[in-house]
Amino acid sequence: MTGAVRQVVEGLLSDRPQEVPGQGWDEELGRQATDALADAGWLGVGLPEKLGGEGGDLADVIEIVDAVGSIGWPSPVADQLLISNGLLEHAGVARPSRYVVVVPALGSANADGVTVTADAVPWAPWATHLVVVSPAGERTATLSLVEPGHAHLRPGRTLPGAPFAEVRLDRAPALSTTVVGTAATDLIGFVRSLGSLSRAVQSRSALRRIQELTLQHVRMREQFGRPLSAFQAVQQHVAALAGEAAAAEAAIGQAIDGMTTAADVVDGPRLATARVRAATAAREVVRLAHQLHGAIGITREYELHRHTLALLAWRAEFGTEREHAVQLAEAAAAAPDLWSWLLDES
């Protein structure tokens, strides 16, 4: 269904403006637009029908993320499709409602209820259900569904305005509990990898869109009587931007290569490479795009700033550039041979 998905999703969203002019993104308008997507079933894509999903594979999921991302407003869609559906599929738990938010910290669940604390959980203020991972046996974990009304939320906003919250549950009642055959710490690691994957895929959409906007700008805009693109200094910047974008594209591509669903994600050098390269590219592409755009780029009336703010925020979520780079270096240093490690032979 390549291309078609994107067209439908973009159509659904383009009918629903998400900003108050000059004020930036409006959370309520954003919620209405996203509700429309959810009502049309798009948040179930990638999850098997027997788990209340709509079926489809990772390629379909990414098409939806790209469609949402090319618009550039804050959106929980990537996390719903990649984190929530990824965990639900892995655990075999059916999607209970519209916005399922996974708490990416180890909880505890017993007869008294579910307890957990997590800092800055993306989109937690929108949650219609919370999912908490707690240890069960040595190689098992429980997944508890909790109504968000039981949570203490301390909300905040990222640079582009996306809501997040510190989430505290103190012996909250679980709506349902499922035992999963994975150790709880591994399962939390898996959730964080899903988060990392989500940010990598989102970054790719934003980098692509910034490149498009920049190429349009240098083609159309004239200075000193010629289009910007005719200037050598501009060309050097455009090529540097394209190189950064291409390298990030390659890095993210190799991380998802061979995966058929989000649940296939593995925390390893390929994913860390994607995050490091995407973060470097974010810094350089943002720098170059703004340099080429001039002051118009930082205004709210022009689209570029949405992608800029998103990229700057994402690069520090689910692991920073530095943390991922250190992870790579440590893994390579521990490997018997660097070259074999680079080829993923060992």
Binding site: L159, R283, R287, G297, I298, T299, A316
Partner: protein, 373 residues
């Protein structure tokens, strides 16, 4: 020069006055932190219009003394945006090019921080190409009729006047001829100020539209047709000051207090800070000698704004906090504020590419091959 006493006075004043006004240190304070109360208190101490003659309300101080005062204010992130542009560019221009009447009319207000100026140079379609200016001043009986629009005018909605570059005559072989500068009060009939919201969520930029605004003859600043040369001379003042490398100092100070900074990344920033400071200080010395060091100023701005950007990147990498411009805590707030301005540091006052063109053409054209001194 022993400037310790002056530094200590400014420092004590700024800390005390900011506390009294409930104003916090901010990055890029000279662009975003606008407080007429602070500016007027500063002026009352004699620290605005410092280099202007006392007969016009100034203080007959040197550019080096002015440099010291501004360094201290920026290092503290003090709210200096209200008077900044009038003090930095308009004062020296009016003093140099203005009539006696214009001087008497504008300079005392600038020195008292009672009259704020916006700068009307860029236009929506001109970018860095000022010769493409389309705002037009037409001679009419008794003065001029001004029509057109200026963009990216900082704080025009809070300023009293604007210094406008407009075309008065058709360009000759050299495209830069035929431009002139005008002093325009913003409360005149036909002046419209439209806000431009930026991604930091603040309103400091505006579009200023002139709908056939009628100006008196005395609105022309300097010689008709010499606007380009006058603007170029201004740039040496605009590009070389401590605001080109100290905009992120409040962030770096907070970072040093709260994070583990004893590594090579911060060391490299500190070496650059010390080096660029020397270059900027040298420009102030040259201004005191009556020179207009255009190329050296361009270098300061190029190096300094790159340094500011690196400060923010290093802080993002080392600070154990999430950037949040709305935080009540200092480090996340300063980090968020500074990060939101990182894309425009190297655009302000001429993109760095334009600056490099100025430097290169000067170097390649000179026979010595050495940097201007």
């Amino acid at each position: 020069m022993d400037d310790r006493k002056l530094r200590a006075e400014v420092r004590a004043f700024a800390v005390r006055t900011m506390a009294a006004l409930g104003l916090r240190p901010r990055c890029d304070s000279w662009m975003v932190s606008h407080s007429p109360e602070f500016s007027r208190a500063l002026a009352a101490r004699g620290w605005v219009g410092m280099t202007m003659p006392s007969e016009y309300g100034g203080h007959d101080r040197s550019f080096l003394e002015r440099y010291v005062v501004n360094e201290e204010l920026l290092a503290l992130g003090a709210p200096v945006a209200a008077h900044w542009f009038a003090d930095r560019q308009v004062g020296p221009s009016v003093l140099r090019h203005g009539t006696e009447e214009q001087r008497r009319r504008y300079l005392p207000g600038i020195a008292a921080a009672e009259r704020y100026f916006a700068i009307g140079m860029s236009e929506a379609d001109s970018g860095s190409d000022l010769a493409a200016v389309r705002t037009r001043a037409t001679e009419v009986p008794g003065g001029w009729r001004l029509s057109g629009a200026k963009i990216w005018t900082s704080h025009a909605h809070r300023a009293h006047s604007i210094l406008v570059l407009a075309r008065t005559d058709p360009p000759a072989e050299r495209r830069h001829t035929g431009l002139s500068q005008f002093l325009v009060d913003l409360d005149l009939d036909g002046v419209e100020v439209r806000p431009i919201a930026t991604m930091d969520g603040e309103h400091h930029f505006n579009e200023v539209v002139f709908h056939d605004v009628l100006l008196g003859e005395d609105a022309l600043l300097g010689a008709r047709g010499r606007g380009w040369e006058q603007v170029t001379a201004e740039l040496a003042y605009e590009r070389s000051g401590p605001e080109r490398f100290l905009s992120t100092m409040p962030l770096l100070r907070a970072l040093m207090r709260e994070a583990d900074c004893a590594g090579p990344a911060v060391g490299s920033l500190l070496a650059e800070l010390r080096s660029v400071r020397v270059l900027s200080y040298q420009v102030a010395q040259m201004l005191d000698q009556g020179r207009v060091p255009t190329v050296r100023s361009a270098l300061v701005k190029d190096l300094g704004t790159q340094l500011e950007r690196r400060v923010v990147e290093v802080a993002c990498s080392l600070a154990p906090v999430r950037p949040d411009p709305h935080s009540a805590d200092e480090l996340p707030r300063l980090l968020g504020e500074a990060l939101l301005h990182n894309p425009d540091r190297t655009l302000r006052g001429g993109t760095n590419e334009i600056l490099r063109g100025i430097v290169a053409r000067d170097l390649v054209g000179s026979s010595a091959g050495r940097l201007v001194p």
